[in-house]
């Protein structure tokens, strides 16, 4: 059998275009809408640039200053004599992240059952728990830290509480989503064998959701090491306290050393957490919803 290429003429194309215009270009209205969106976005950008003074000479002056003074005064990093103190503060930072995440997970676990549609029959309770979790999440760690420093004083406790509060919100959301996605059949199986509510949760629900929960919790711990490293800027303990102090005193070389240490710590924790997730749960690939829930 031989195949033959059909000769397409301009006339054929025109005919097809007349018959099926949507295949060649979007309708004019659609295209206008898209253009309007782009024009509006550009106009708003220009307005912002103008409003904040990016288009003035001051901005160029600032750029020059950033290059000349800030960057050149950061290198080479110094302050190795205080390395012991910095490392201790980094240890405190990791400890804050660990305790904050743990506290958040422990409080959120029972509440996440209340927030799951398939576990709680009462809509107001389920909806209320979800919205409450959203409320806790909607303030940044630093805002909670600022408030807790006032309530419990300067130091790591305020940081732990700030992380725990945000994490209660995050974990209620993540855990309850995991619970909502579980397979009903295993719970029915436990019920058919005469299991009560506790049995249903212990043998029907937890084995299904625990790997996901552990993986999410580890991931949030990893994320919270980053958060904990800055909470000290408002006085909530950890390496951020020293970093803020050095930056405000214009000790940029020492600040640079601290930043390098923080970045190295974050990398180390990332690798450790990835390793643990693979060991514990065989979770080779990061799950999607968690990446949507937190900042990269």
């Amino acid at each position: 059998m031989t195949s033959q290429l059909i000769e397409i003429t301009e006339a054929d194309i025109a005919e097809e275009r007349a018959r099926n215009p949507g295949a060649f270009a979007a309708p004019l209205r659609e295209r206008m809408k898209a253009w309007m969106a782009w024009v509006a976005a550009t106009a708003l950008t220009l307005f912002c640039l103008h409003r904040f003074g990016f288009l003035s000479g001051d901005f160029l002056h600032g750029v020059a200053k950033f290059g000349d003074t800030v960057i050149s005064q950061m290198f080479p990093p110094t302050g190795y004599e205080s390395l012991g103190m910095f490392l201790k503060a980094i240890g405190e930072t990791v400890a804050m992240a660990l305790l904050g995440t743990l506290l958040g997970a422990v409080v959120a676990l029972p509440l996440s059952f209340l927030a799951a549609k398939n576990m709680t029959r009462s809509r107001p309770i389920q909806f209320g728990t979800r919205r409450g979790a959203d409320l806790l999440r909607s303030f940044d760690y630093l805002i909670w830290a600022l408030i807790f420093v006032r309530a419990v004083g300067l130091g790591p406790l305020a940081g732990i509480m700030a992380i725990a509060i945000v994490e209660i919100g995050t974990f209620i959301k993540l855990y309850s989503e995991a619970i909502e996605n579980l397979d009903r059949k295993q719970i029915d199986g436990v019920t058919s064998l005469g299991g009560n509510g506790m049995h249903r949760i212990w043998f029907g629900v937890l084995p299904q959701v625990l790997p996901m929960m552990l993986s999410n919790t580890l991931y949030m711990f990893e994320h919270n090491v980053r958060s904990a490293s800055i909470l000290g800027i408002v006085g909530a303990g950890g390496i951020g306290f020293l970093l803020g102090d050095r930056l405000r005193a214009y000790e940029l070389r020492e600040a640079c050393l601290i930043i390098i240490l923080v970045v190295l710590t974050v990398y180390a924790i990332d690798y450790l957490s990835k390793f643990l997730r693979e060991q514990l749960i065989g979770d080779h690939k990061r799950r999607e919803p968690i990446d949507d829930a937190v900042q990269v």
Binding site: G53, V70, L99, L102, I143, V152, V263, L280
Partner: protein, 300 residues
């Protein structure tokens, strides 16, 4: 002994298999229990170390509860139904200034999202393994993105405040830097995941390089780019509320001042503005995201 000549050997084989299974299962269980015990022990040790390092004391926490609740109570001044209007306007005495700060916060987040996405998007093409041809350029692009997003935005804000002074410019630049790092990484992953098939198709039907990019690459990556950008805007609004703590503009500055001066009612009023804004932005952004991307399906 009477045995079924057909079933006899089968049963013994099955027994052997069951016994072997039981034995292996016991070994497997033992191994798993040891591993779990080991992990549990190490974990407990970590928690205890953490408790000691941070001098965690339940007592301080319990002591703080009345102070925190007093704090909360003073953040909500008495608002009576009879004089609602007066009470409310007294509470929001600084409304004009606060809403101006709020507008600045939103515009800072918007501008930083746009600038960070443009710069990060440009870098992402060099940081995508399938598009970068020069390994050195690829390596540098990856490291630049990594540094930009690993250093927290509040630290960038502190640095930029030195050069650009107190005000929103430092905040915009700080959030832009963090955004370009995050967007560059995410976009590079999107670029790496495109299917080459549409490009082949376009080339086969006589399209040039521009056609390939416009009709082959862009439709594949744009929905994801847009989705990430809206999502990043949500996150940047949150960031823009806090960079003011170190003088980088936005409503965080008002909040920080109010907390420092112990103007509790103001703190409550500003927090209410922030939470309302963030919830509204989240909802709006989700709606826009669905309507803008609903038509085009995700490529992976």
């Amino acid at each position: 002994m009477v045995t079924n000549p057909n079933a006899g050997p089968d049963v013994s084989v099955a027994r052997g298999v069951v016994a072997r299974f039981e034995k292996q299962y016991a070994v497997y269980r033992r191994k798993k229990q040891v591993t779990m015990a080991l992990f549990g022990g190490v974990f407990a040790l970590c928690v205890i170390t953490a408790l000691i390092t941070t001098k965690f004391s339940l007592w301080t926490l319990v002591e703080g509860i009345p102070r925190a609740s007093e704090f909360l109570a003073r953040m909500l001044p008495p608002i009576r139904l009879g004089t609602f209007g007066q009470d409310f306007s007294a509470w929001y005495w600084g409304a004009g200034e606060w809403f101006n700060s709020l507008l600045n916060t939103l515009l800072m987040a918007y501008l930083a999202t746009i600038l960070g996405t443009l710069i990060g998007g440009a870098i992402s093409f060099f940081a995508a393994r399938n598009l970068a041809h020069n390994y050195l350029v690829y390596w540098i692009a990856r490291r630049v993105l990594e540094i930009a997003r690993t250093v927290p935005d509040i630290v960038w804000a502190l640095l930029f405040v030195f050069a650009f002074g107190i005000g929103p410019v430092a905040g915009v630049l700080a959030i832009t830097t963090h955004t370009l790092g995050a967007q560059g990484k995410l976009f590079a992953e999107v670029n790496e995941n495109i299917s080459p098939l549409p490009l082949d198709g376009i080339r086969a039907s006589g399209g040039n390089w521009f056609h390939e990019m416009r009709f082959g690459v862009l439709p594949q990556v744009l929905p994801n780019y847009l989705s990430y950008t809206f999502w990043r805007f949500e996150l940047n609004v949150r960031s823009a509320t806090i960079v003011g703590f170190v003088g980088a503009g936005g409503i965080g500055h008002d909040l920080f001042t109010a907390v420092q001066l112990l103007y509790f009612a103001d703190v409550g009023a500003i927090l209410l503005i922030i939470v309302a804004t963030i919830m509204a932005i989240d909802m709006l952004s989700e709606k826009i995201r669905h309507s803008a991307i609903g038509k085009a399906s995700f490529s992976h």
